[in-house]
């Protein structure tokens, strides 16, 4: 009997191993192009928060959040021009997240691409921001830079940044214009069901978005002038939650990226983004969903200087300021200021430093129990991007799927 089991197991293994070369099958298994990308982000943080209820919360920590690994696969279709692709990505969530897992599957999508168009289906970044700002982590200014998720009450940046999409992109390269449209399925959670949040793999379509952008190619971004201008309309259908009824939340995002200087070796960049959200009536700002559905506007601006003699980046200094106001509530505003510095130590190896100051107006401070906040951090980032069996050719670095600090600016509408 034991022998029979071994033979059956061996037979099963043989069948599995022969999948790539089935007898009488002329079509071979084509090896995919494989992109491996990732980054490690490790910082030493010190925070000092004044709580609205009185008292103080301070302390230090070593933080590895936002470190990630990305695997991309692509193959030509039978016409040898168009291609199919798939991406899987893992990242380490923040400690204060409500996600139950140590690893979050933030990218898992498949798609088909052609020379000027792409169709993507699966989990990836939502189309709820247009500009990357020079902060160490993508959630350092999340409340200001992204349209919030009106269907999740969890304390999880992942629910705001990522979702399941059916997205189509079309490029007009001669006009430097990119168009994108998406049906979005944002993660739906409530405050009583957080135990399952980390394992959500399905999403109900609950929104749509349309984007248009004028986007100068990377290669000429160091010419003086407008590099990027984008506009996105984002609509979310939100279900009944804690006493507030179904609602549709509309957000408009506008962004500009401008090169102020004429010296490509000493670049001055100005990035500005505004978000206006027209939501519904909410009883307070005390819960995440309430704030996501409330009427608000947010403006973020960043001035960056990049020192790059011989077009080789050495360092970047940036100052980012942000303001947000919940217009239906008195003194419910927030101000943020983030100076940051990046020293390029090697290809993809950066030393970073950042100070973050946030001051909430009295109306908002009492709702979130946070008056002012100071966070100082020092650390390093290590990013890499490698391609095996390059056949299709990269559409761009797979690291473009991640938040970056150097050579940043627009979140490509087509990405």
């Amino acid at each position: 009997m034991r022998t029979l089991r071994i033979l059956m197991l061996a037979g099963a293994c043989a069948v599995a191993a022969s999948g790539a070369a089935v007898a009488l099958e002329v079509d071979p298994e084509v090896l995919p192009e494989i992109n491996i990308g990732g980054r490690g982000v490790v910082t030493a943080n010190y925070r000092d928060r004044d709580l609205a209820s009185g008292g103080n919360d301070n302390g230090g920590e070593l933080d590895v959040a936002d470190s990630s690994l990305l695997l991309g696969f692509s193959k030509f279709l039978f016409n040898d021009v168009d291609y199919g692709f798939a991406t899987i990505g893992f990242k380490a969530p923040d400690d204060d997240t409500d996600l139950g897992d140590d690893i979050f599957l933030h990218e898992l999508h498949v798609g088909i691409g052609a020379r000027v168009s792409e169709l993507l289906l699966g989990r990836t970044r939502l189309t709820n921001t247009l500009i990357q700002f020079p902060t160490v982590r993508d959630d350092d200014l999340l409340d200001f830079t992204h349209v919030a998720n009106a269907s999740s009450n969890a304390e999880a940046e992942e629910d705001t940044i990522y979702g399941t999409l059916l997205k189509g992109s079309y490029y007009l390269p001669r006009h430097r214009v990119a168009l994108a449209g998406a049906v979005t399925a944002r993660t739906e959670t409530d405050a009583t069901n957080l135990a399952n949040v980390g394992r959500v793999s399905r999403g109900n379509p609950n929104g749509i978005s349309l984007s248009i952008a004028y986007d100068v190619p990377e290669t000429i971004k160091f010419d003086r002038g407008l590099r990027f201008a984008g506009l996105t309309w984002d609509a979310q259908r939100a279900e009944t939650f804690s006493g507030i009824g179904k609602d549709t939340v509309h957000s408009w995002i506008g962004a500009l990226s401008y090169n102020l200087g004429e010296n490509p070796e000493e670049s001055w960049m100005l990035d500005v983004q505004g978000i206006y959200t027209a939501g519904g009536t909410v009883p307070s700002l005390a819960q995440n969903i309430f704030r996501a559905r409330a009427d608000s506007y947010a403006v973020v601006g960043s001035l960056r200087y990049v020192h790059r003699p011989y077009l080789q980046t050495r360092w970047q200094a940036a100052l980012t300021a942000a303001y947000k106001d919940f217009t239906d509530f008195d003194n419910a505003h927030s101000i943020a200021l983030i100076p940051s510095f990046t020293w390029r130590a090697g290809s993809g190896v950066d030393l970073v430093a950042q100070y973050r100051f946030i001051d909430n107006g009295r109306g908002l401070a009492s709702a979130v129990n946070r008056d002012t906040e100071h966070v100082v951090l020092f650390g390093a980032r290590f990013g890499f991007d490698f391609t095996l069996n390059e056949t299709v050719g990269q559409r761009g670095s797979i690291l473009n799927l991640e938040h970056n600090m150097l050579d940043i600016g627009p979140v490509r509408v087509g990405d």
Binding site: D80, P217, E218, T219, I220, F222, D223, E262, N263, P264, E265, P309, Y310, L311, Q312, R314, G346, S347, E390, T391, G393
Partner: protein, 410 residues
């Protein structure tokens, strides 16, 4: 297959040969000759180069480099060559971007007589930089086509006129010498045949036809990637350099070695350093003869009792061992120079930069494979047979008992 009898000078492509005219070039951007005072005095690096002059622009420029006789002293045979970007088909369903002379792969075959004075107007219609090196031709050094050694690279929309005397006789070739690994692999090469009435090979073997076989290896992925990167950024970098906004070191240009050392001291990161190199090394996946892979290669024709001459030119950087079935041919010339006592062979090595001439005598009617015996080069993207393979075909067989068909995936 290129049959040189059909593709002699003036009969190849419309506009290629303009005729033996001695017209002066247009508005000349004449770089001064190196002013070496004596052999003992050191030369000042970068003399004559526009690359170190801020504000220079070569758009529409017509550069006549010094050193050759003026038009009124000798009678030039004048040719026009262009650098063009196109998509070339190696075999059905396999296309890749190439730079090509006069829009063809390989470039047109020059057919000139020994000691002819040659004038070639090379116009750059791409956004990359180029030069032309006349491989195996003994010419004036300012016409040798080595960028930053004998001339500045030919900029986009610039015309550079090469003038030289065609010598010595034999099988020579020409290729771009800028970004050589990419540009040779992306098809910027062609045959330059210098004939002589005193050809010792013809005296020994009265051949009636000769053929030029340019042996090529292409890494289509490397080429496409490099081409995209180059086309994406080169035009902008050139413009910024012309505007004086970038140091020549950005392109890796230095007047001399000391200046390069000083740039490194100043923080410039050499592109070859371990921490700064992409380490892209081409690994060819397609192998071609005259721009085509088997079964798209052209066949070589012969009839009984005929001598034919085959000129093999290695336009790539791999070593090829060309084997002819059913015949012992004569190896009659190497690097274009006649071999006094030809050797009988059936396989001949053609290394990078080499030309080998062989003569075949039609004494064994049939269909005979002629191919690189390194079977890795007789593949199309790893599928055998393909690549560097063609066939010697007797044209005067009446009823051959077996006629070849095609198998491309054995």
């Amino acid at each position: 297959m290129t049959e040189s009898r059909k593709r002699g000078a003036g009969a190849t492509r419309r506009g290629f040969l303009k005729g033996a005219v001695a017209a002066a070039g247009g508005a000349a951007v004449v770089a001064g000759a190196s002013a070496a005072a004596s052999a003992a005095a050191p030369y000042k690096g970068g003399t004559g180069s526009m690359m170190f002059i801020p504000g220079h622009t070569m758009i529409g420029a017509h550069t006549n480099s010094p050193g050759a006789p003026p038009d009124d002293e000798v009678e030039y045979r004048e040719f026009d060559l262009t650098f063009e970007l196109l998509e070339h088909e190696l075999i059905p369903r396999v296309k890749f971007p190439v730079f090509a002379f006069n829009g063809q792969v390989p470039g047109p075959v020059f057919r000139v007589q020994e000691n002819d004075w040659i004038k070639v107007n090379a116009t750059n219609k791409t956004e990359a930089m180029h030069t032309i090196h006349w491989h195996g031709v003994d010419l004036i050094y300012t016409m040798d086509g080595v960028p930053m050694v004998t001339q500045d690279p030919i900029h986009p929309d610039e015309t550079f006129t090469y003038r030289f005397q065609a010598r010595p006789a034999g099988t020579r070739f020409y290729h771009c010498h800028w970004s050589t690994p990419l540009h040779m692999m992306s098809a910027l090469h062609g045959a330059f045949i210098i004939d002589s009435p005193d050809d010792p090979v013809r005296a020994m073997f009265p051949y009636t036809r000769d053929y030029v076989l340019m042996l090529e290896s292409f890494d289509t992925v490397f080429t496409r990637k490099q081409m995209n990167a180059l086309l994406g950024g080169m035009k902008r970098v050139n413009k910024l350099m012309a505007m004086g906004k970038l140091d020549p070191a950005t392109h890796g240009f230095f007047r001399d070695y000391d200046e390069m050392l000083a740039a490194i001291e100043n923080g410039w990161r050499p592109p070859y350093a371990m921490g700064n190199s992409e380490a892209l090394v081409p690994d060819p996946n397609f192998f071609a003869i005259n721009g085509k892979c088997y079964p798209a290669t052209e066949k070589i024709g012969i009839v009984r009792d005929e001598f034919i001459r085959i000129r093999l030119i290695n336009g790539g950087f791999l070593v090829h061992h060309m084997h002819l079935h059913g015949h012992q041919f004569w190896h009659v010339a190497e690097d274009g120079n006649p071999i006094p006592q030809p050797l009988r062979k059936n396989t001949i090595e053609v290394g990078p930069g080499k030309t080998q001439d062989i003569v075949v005598y039609g004494d064994n009617p049939g269909f005979w494979t002629f191919h690189d015996h390194d079977v890795r080069r007789v593949m199309n993207n790893g599928v055998y047979p393909g690549g560097m393979l063609t066939m010697l075909v007797y044209e005067d067989m009446e009823n051959p008992p077996y006629v070849p068909s095609i198998a491309i995936n054995e």
